[in-house]
Amino acid sequence: MTWLLEPGSAVEKFAVMLVAVAVFVVVMGVILFAVDRPKRVPAWVVALGFVGVPLAFLAYGLVRPGLITLWQSFFDRTGSEFIGFDNYLRAFTEGQFQKVLLVTAAWVILAPLLSTIIGLAYAVLVDRTRFEKLAKALVFVPMAISMVGASIIWKFVYEFRPDQPGVNQIGLLNQLLVWLGIPPQQFLIGQPWNSGFLIVVMIWIQTGFAMTVLSAAIKAIPDDITEAARLDGLHGFGMFRYITVPSIRPALVVVLTTIAMGTLKAFDIVRTMTGGQFGTQVVANEFYTQAFRQGNQGLAAALAVVLFVLVIPIIAYNVRQMRKSEEIR
């Protein structure tokens, strides 16, 4: 039976996959069959048949580990000695980690803002033009690929070759600099701008999301409103500033907060492009380093909790704005 745990060939792997799916189907089928006796099964038993397994999964795989992590964050690196808030103290006071927090803050502020601004501008600019569908698809495609893939795409754009005669730049950005008569730069090494060049990748990925959501919101603005504004003499930027933006405010808040949360948790870009070196480390990647490279259980747990705590103000802002816009309606 070892092939169930350690399949060798591709055929064995697909066989294991089929076994897993079959086991799942049979188990769920038995549960549903058992609760589907119309003869007076109490409602809560039927409900348990439907929600039992999913809730058990969540309790086992999210709630319980979350609590364990919270508990572990008060212990030392091996998890043997209780040290109170020392891990958190370290994460917020030690220079190395303060820098990580600062860089993370830059990510969480810049990536959502710029993605939203560019996405909104693009949505407005291509709205109702002949090429709208194609133009949107072009910007949307990066949403479909992995952050690892996007990182490699951009690492190649940033590629640096020493500035010597006979050496050609192979990265597009440095070639552009050379064409402009500026010496090529090591974009991923020079601090603090290297973090900015990493954030560009996140913006590149998330703009498609912002554009799609905002474009749908713009199209949902009732015609009579724009018509009335036009009769009142609003055009171009005035229309954008006083009609479009206020009308899509709820969508703007959702886009900003969604991207902010995604950015906070993303570690793929930093890990693939710099590995967190050269002062580009962020909390999500530092967590991974501490947990699986440095083996510092306590500190890693504290960083995971910090990630969770940082999400809360974003959510709170989202909920407050939602309430506000509902009151206005």
Partner: protein, 315 residues
């Protein structure tokens, strides 16, 4: 009469309304287009900005794509844009080496990605459908509390769950296998999946469910006979979303799989770390890891966008 859908406030509805309305509507759309072309959009600045954005969003990918077909020596010697100025040479060698080479062998990881992704989509969607049905249509004690609890679990970052789960898997002796990745992906997908599918289920008119119940159907029958067929578009939307999420995931794959069972993303990320300068392999490898999501996206774009909008606007 009973089957008239309640007017949904969903974003997807607006597109349908546009087409469904009669002739006067069409006229005003034409007018609008005329105004639009006369107004701000014909300004050269506006089109210029739009074109620059479109270029910035495509040229980097084109660079990767072109490079992956160039011979290794050419890649080292000159930029990919030189292929547009004559005597360019193209080859499939890079793909051969990335897929079947001694040290890369991405074909294995390609298989792994499929083996991980298919159950990683089927299992959570099935579970979420059942849970969403119960939360929407079965009355049981604690329902609202549990639904809010599941809903709020969406904000928990995966990071808090990784280390305890991993040590469990190690204790159980299944650590590093496909089983742990399937389980983890299924768990992590549930909060969003239940929430989204619950929203879709709530849009179905209650009269349909009531009618089926009057006819004597149990919940299981109602679920499969009445609701499931109506939910196919919603399931497709979320299915594509989850497919891309699992396929593109790095964190879960990196944490839970041993080397022979790694997904493509982990293998390609590793290549980027260890063979950072070998652009012939890296570009081909990156493109191999993207081809499936790209096909899915292009073929099923409508469902994908709809699923994402539902998730974002309602979440």
């Amino acid at each position: 009469m009973t089957t008239t859908p309640t007017p949904g406030q969903s974003v997807a509805g607006t597109a349908v309304d546009d087409d469904a309305r009669g002739a006067p509507r069409k006229l005003s759309r034409l007018e609008k287009r005329a105004i639009a072309t006369k107004g701000r959009l014909s300004s050269p600045w506006a089109s210029g900005v739009a074109i620059v954005i479109a270029l910035l969003w495509t040229i980097p990918s084109i660079g990767l794509f072109v490079t992956s077909f160039r011979p290794e020596s050419d890649i080292r010697r000159s930029g990919w844009w030189t292929v547009f100025t004559g005597n360019a040479e193209f080859t499939m060698d890079n793909y051969n080496e990335a897929l079947y080479g001694n040290s890369n062998d991405l074909s294995t990881f390609f298989v792994n990605s499929f083996v991980i992704t298919i159950p990683g989509v089927l299992i959570p969607i099935t579970l979420a459908l059942l849970a969403a049905y119960a939360f929407a249509w079965i009355k049981f004690p604690g329902r609202n509390f549990l639904f809010v609890a599941v809903f709020s679990l969406q904000v928990v970052p995966l990071q808090v769950a990784l280390v305890p789960l991993l040590s469990d898997y190690v204790d159980a002796g299944v650590n590093g296998t496909f089983w742990t990745v399937w389980l983890s992906h299924s768990i992590f997908a549930l909060p969003l999946a239940i929430f989204l599918l619950h929203n879709f289920m709530k849009d179905i008119p209650p009269s349909l469910v009531e009618a089926a119940r009057v006819d004597g159907a149990g919940h299981v029958k109602i679920f499969f006979r009445v609701l499931f067929p109506l939910l196919v578009p919603a399931i497709a939307s979320f299915g594509i979303f989850q497919f891309l999420w699992v396929w593109n995931d790095l964190l879960v794959g990196l944490t839970f799989t041993d080397t022979p069972y790694r997904p493509l993303t982990v293998a390609v990320a590793e290549m980027a770390g260890s063979r950072g300068g070998d652009w012939h392999i890296l570009t081909a490898g990156a493109f191999i890891s993207m081809i499936v999501p790209l096909i899915v996206f292009i073929a099923l774009q409508r469902y994908f966008v709809r699923g994402m909008l539902a998730g974002a606007v309602k979440g």
